[in-house]
Structure formats: structure tokens, C-alpha cells
């Protein structure tokens, strides 16, 4: 349970949505280690078809389209251009693209729906992390003068953060294993998960270090995947669902880039985004946290002021499947699905970007 009477630092004035917007549908590809069979268009088409089909609409029912992807996964420029062929944007549509996780594409679409500039939006994200060497590719996210030339891999940077958390007395390696064990177990009930197993933490602790203090289980899998969400405002939200899942708050914040100028054990940008999104005004039942590394769940959980009664990552989270560029969007979809199924009334989803949780997004949702 969150503690509204004692929000974390960095809280900013809450801004309430002026126009109700709902998560009308959500679909994702089955997350796999490698889909070496399909191109991006072929991977996306069934996902988008499911997102439309599950609420019996077509592409003609949405008036805005926004996607999230990165050229560096495929190793060629303009990968989002070809992906548009999976939608069939004819007649021409209002359409946009962020070179970010599609959770930010969802944010852009939500802004337009808030304004009334659109009534319904298709949002999708996609990426095949298996094509290249993700440990080298993600090094290119770093300062191109001081950091990228050293090729620090994302696992090592996360390990620096994990060590800082351990040194601060706020976690142990056993905590990481416990999170991974819970993720694997929860993923057994997620048909789209990639890593699922009934395993106890003590067994995971026997694994060797990949980069100490992180063992294999504390790392995300390499995943090929895609996901889509349909957003609906006003009347359409009610037409497409008897019990719409409403977005009641949405915000995101970025921190500075230099790891050495940040306190890696906390996530003030998550706290600020959560406060702006109104998270601390009422308790939540479920949280889907985009924590690619086990220890990051602890940092985000604290930043979101989640109590022990909150169910965290019932989907298994990013440790069960981490399709780059859609993993954040999937957190929103999974949290919304818990509300739609009646398992939760109020839920929060979190997405992250950049090394060691540099940029964070928070989306709060509620049932009717």
C-alpha cells in the first residue's frame, strides 16, 4: 500500500487529467529469445490485429497512431518507417514515432487524447534484441566522448548500481535472488513469458556471477517482442468496454546522465513522476515495475512508496521477458489487464529508459 500521507521527496503539484482516457485493449507477441523467422512487419501484424480484434474495431476506428522503436536493434536507419506497413496507414493518418520505449509513445498519444486532438489511438512498440549484441548496442546510449568509447556494457553499469545498494545496507544478493524466484514463479501463469520456472531463491544463489554482484538470475533475458495498446477517450471508451480501465495519472521524468553525479540507490525521477501522476493519493493493489535488473525493483518500489501488500509484477516483469522498446508499454498493458480482470481496482505501471534507471515513467490506472 502506498502512503499518501508521507509521499517521497520530489513531489510536485498533481495535475488531474481533464478528459478520461482508457486502455481499451492490449496485445503482445509471445516473448521469445529469438524470432529469426519474421521481420518487424510480420512480427507486428498479428499483435495489432489482436489489439483491434479483441474490441471488434479496425484501423479506421483510431485517429492517431504512435510507435516506439530504435534503429540500433536492427542495425539500419528508419526501421519505424517499414513497420508502419503493419498498420496499413491508408488513407493517410495522423501518426508519430518516438525513438524511445513505446510507453512514451503511449504518453504522447494520451496527451493528444487529453487535448481532444484525437479520440482513439493505436500505440505499438517492437524490437528484436536478438539480432545484434545488446551489450555493445546499449553502450551507445552513453556519453559519446567519456563513456561510450570504453564500451561499458549495461550489465556492468547495473552491477555498479547493485553494489551501491548493497553497500548502503539496503539489499543483499539474496534479495535479488528472491525477486528473481518470485518472477519466475509468477511467469508460469503468463503465457507470453520467456523465463518461467518454479525455483527457490537458494537454488538461484548457486549461479555464478555474470558481473558481480549480479548473477544470471538478476539479469533480464534477451527478448524479441512487440506489443500494442489501443487508447480511447470519451464515448469510444464506453463503446469499447463495459468497464473501462481509466488512466488517472501519467507522468515521466529524466535524471542527469553522468552515473557519478547521481545517487544510484534512489530514483527521484520515479518519485516525482509518481507524485505528478497522483499515485500517492490512494493505495494501489498491483504494480508492474519495469526493472530489467532484480535490484532495480527495490529502488523503484521504494520510489513509488509501495507497501508489502502491493502485488508486484504478477506478469513476472522484465526478468521474465524484456523486449527492448516494448517492455515498458507491456507493463502498462499488464497492469491494465489486472484491473480489467477484476483482480485489482487501482494499479500503477512503471517504465524506464537509459542506464541505471536514468529516465522513468509512471502511469496510474483505475477501474470503474
Amino acid at each position: 500500500m502506498s502512503s499518501p500521507e508521507n509521499p517521497p521527496s520530489g513531489s510536485a503539484p498533481r495535475r488531474r487529467p481533464v478528459r478520461p482516457v482508457s486502455i481499451a485493449s492490449f496485445a503482445q507477441a509471445r516473448n521469445v529469445r529469438q524470432d529469426d523467422h519474421h521481420n518487424e512487419v510480420e512480427m507486428l501484424m498479428p499483435v495489432i490485429a489482436e489489439a483491434f480484434g479483441s474490441i471488434s474495431i479496425t484501423k479506421d476506428d483510431v485517429d492517431f497512431i504512435c510507435s516506439g522503436s530504435t534503429d540500433y536493434l536492427i542495425g539500419g536507419p528508419f526501421s519505424f518507417v517499414m513497420a508502419l506497413d503493419a498498420v496499413g496507414v491508408w488513407p493517410p493518418r495522423a501518426e508519430s514515432h518516438v525513438e524511445m520505449d513505446a510507453a512514451w509513445a503511449l504518453y504522447e498519444a494520451w496527451v493528444l487524447l487529453q487535448e481532444g486532438a484525437a479520440d482513439a489511438a493505436l500505440v505499438y512498440g517492437f524490437g528484436r534484441s536478438s539480432l545484434g549484441d545488446l551489450n555493445e548496442i546499449l553502450a551507445l546510449q552513453l556519453d559519446p566522448y567519456y563513456l561510450a568509447p570504453l564500451w561499458p556494457d549495461p550489465v556492468s553499469l547495473a552491477a555498479l548500481q547493485a553494489r551501491a545498494l548493497i553497500d548502503a545496507g539496503r539489499a543483499t544478493e539474496a534479495d535479488f535472488a528472491a525477486i528473481a524466484a518470485r518472477s519466475r514463479k509468477d511467469a508460469l501463469s503468463n503465457p507470453n513469458a520467456q523465463v518461467a520456472k518454479d525455483v527457490v531463491a537458494s537454488t538461484l544463489m548457486e549461479e555464478a556471477y555474470v558481473v558481480s554482484p549480479l548473477r544470471r538470475h538478476a539479469l533480464p533475458p534477451i527478448t524479441d517482442g512487440a506489443a500494442a495498446i489501443v487508447l480511447a477517450a470519451g464515448e469510444k471508451a464506453h463503446q469499447w468496454s463495459d468497464d473501462p480501465v481509466w488512466i488517472t495519472g501519467f507522468d515521466h521524468r529524466i535524471e542527469t546522465h553522468s552515473l557519478g553525479a547521481r545517487d544510484l540507490t534512489v530514483s527521484p525521477s520515479t518519485s516525482t513522476a509518481a507524485a505528478r501522476a497522483g499515485l500517492f493519493e490512494a493505495p494501489v493493489d498491483v504494480a508492474e515495475i519495469h526493472a530489467p535488473y532484480a535490484h532495480q525493483e527495490l529502488i523503484v518500489k521504494e520510489a513509488l512508496a509501495l507497501g508489502d501488500s502491493v502485488v508486484i509484477n504478477p506478469s513476472g516483469g522484465a526478468l521474465a521477458a524484456n523486449p527492448i522498446m516494448s517492455a515498458g508499454l507491456i507493463r502498462v498493458g499488464e497492469a491494465a489487464a489486472r484491473i480489467a480482470s477484476g483482480e485489482a481496482h487501482r494499479a500503477v505501471a512503471h517504465a524506464t529508459s537509459g542506464p541505471c534507471l536514468q529516465q522513468n515513467l509512471v502511469c496510474v490506472m483505475e477501474g470503474a
Binding site: 529469426d36 523467422h37 519474421h38 521481420n39 518487424e40 512487419v41 510480420e42 501484424m45 495489432i48 490485429a49 484501423k59 540500433y72 536492427i74 542495425g75 517499414m82 508502419l84 506497413d85 503493419a86 498498420v87 496499413g88 496507414v89 491508408w90 536478438s130 539480432l131 545484434g132 549484441d133 555493445e136 548496442i137 551507445l140 559519446p144 566522448y145 561510450a148 568509447p149
Partner: protein, 175 residues
């Protein structure tokens, strides 16, 4: 520089401040063109143009990238296309650029194969650059049978096939 004396501040002279930094980047990928494009490419290895028809709008795409770009549905019906087509438009390339493998000047044209609803860019040879025309009928010249591969390199070029030019009205909607 083996006899360079050691110790501090030995190389301060003759070198101005650092103004540039070389950061070469090399990344390797395992690429797949996907199911539909693989069919097109394997057709090329067989010496033929394989297109795909959209089940909604019936248009034939070559090469298909797996979907109908206007309907957003998979293209699954294979269609073998003719070896001949029409030049819809073209340009004459006079500029050298990185990766170029043909002697300039040469003609680059949009070729609409008979039976297809989409043109693609092809090299035109065996015609002087000042005699190229929109509407000219051309045929594909393939590499030798044993050199065929799943690549557009299997098509050496297109050349005039001697037929009368196509009427502008027949291809103007493909411009």
C-alpha cells in the same frame, strides 16, 4: 619513441589542444528479411520475380515485405510475374558515391513489371542515356544460371525489349 625520457610533462610541446576524437563503431547483426521477402529472394535465385497479392485489395506487390501497406494484412498468395515491364520514370546518375559499382553516367529507372501494382528501381543498360523514355518497355537480363542467388544482384539489369512504348495513360497512376 623508445628514447623518449620518462617523467611528467614530457609531451607538452608541438601538440595543440585536442579538438577531435575518433570513436569508430562496429556492430554485427544477424539479419533476416522475414518470410515474405525470403520468398521473393528465393524466386530470384530461381530466375523469376515472385510477387504477392493482397487478399483485400487484390494488388500485387513485388517485392512484398509481408504486408499490404494500405490494408495492413499479410500477403500470402504468391504470384509469378513476367520478365518484362514498363519504365514509369527514371533519372540519369552522374554522381559518384560511396558503394557505387557501376560506371557513370547510367540510368536508374522505376520498372513496373507486367502483372505487378508496384514499380521498383532497376538499372537500365543497352540504351544510350539520351534515348531513355518514360513508357519504354524493358526486359530483365539475368546473370548466368549457376550465378543466380537470393539477391537482386541476380538481375544484371533491364534492357529495351523492342516493344512499342506503353501509353502514358497506362502507367500514369504508378508515378
Amino acid at each position: 619513441m623508445a628514447d623518449e625520457p620518462g617523467g611528467p610533462s614530457t609531451v607538452t610541446e608541438d601538440r595543440g589542444p585536442v579538438t577531435t576524437l575518433a570513436t569508430p563503431i562496429r556492430l554485427d547483426f544477424n539479419f533476416t528479411p522475414g518470410v515474405a521477402q525470403s520468398r521473393f529472394l528465393m524466386g530470384l535465385a530461381d530466375g523469376k520475380f515472385m510477387g504477392q497479392r493482397c487478399s483485400v485489395c487484390s494488388k500485387v506487390y513485388v517485392p512484398s515485405r509481408g504486408s499490404c501497406p494500405t490494408d495492413g494484412v499479410p500477403t500470402i498468395e504468391d504470384v509469378e510475374l513476367a520478365n518484362v515491364g514498363t519504365i514509369t520514370t527514371y533519372c540519369v546518375v552522374n554522381v559518384p558515391f560511396a558503394g557505387q559499382s557501376i560506371e557513370i553516367p547510367y540510368i536508374c529507372a522505376q520498372v513496373l513489371l507486367d502483372g505487378a501494382n508496384l514499380s521498383f528501381m532497376g538499372l537500365i543498360q543497352e540504351v544510350p542515356t539520351d534515348q531513355i523514355r518514360m513508357g519504354m518497355r524493358v526486359e530483365a537480363v539475368w546473370v548466368d544460371r549457376e550465378e543466380l542467388s537470393p539477391s537482386l544482384a541476380s538481375v544484371r539489369y533491364f534492357r529495351p525489349n523492342g516493344e512499342a512504348d506503353a501509353d502514358y495513360e497506362t502507367f500514369k497512376e504508378y508515378l
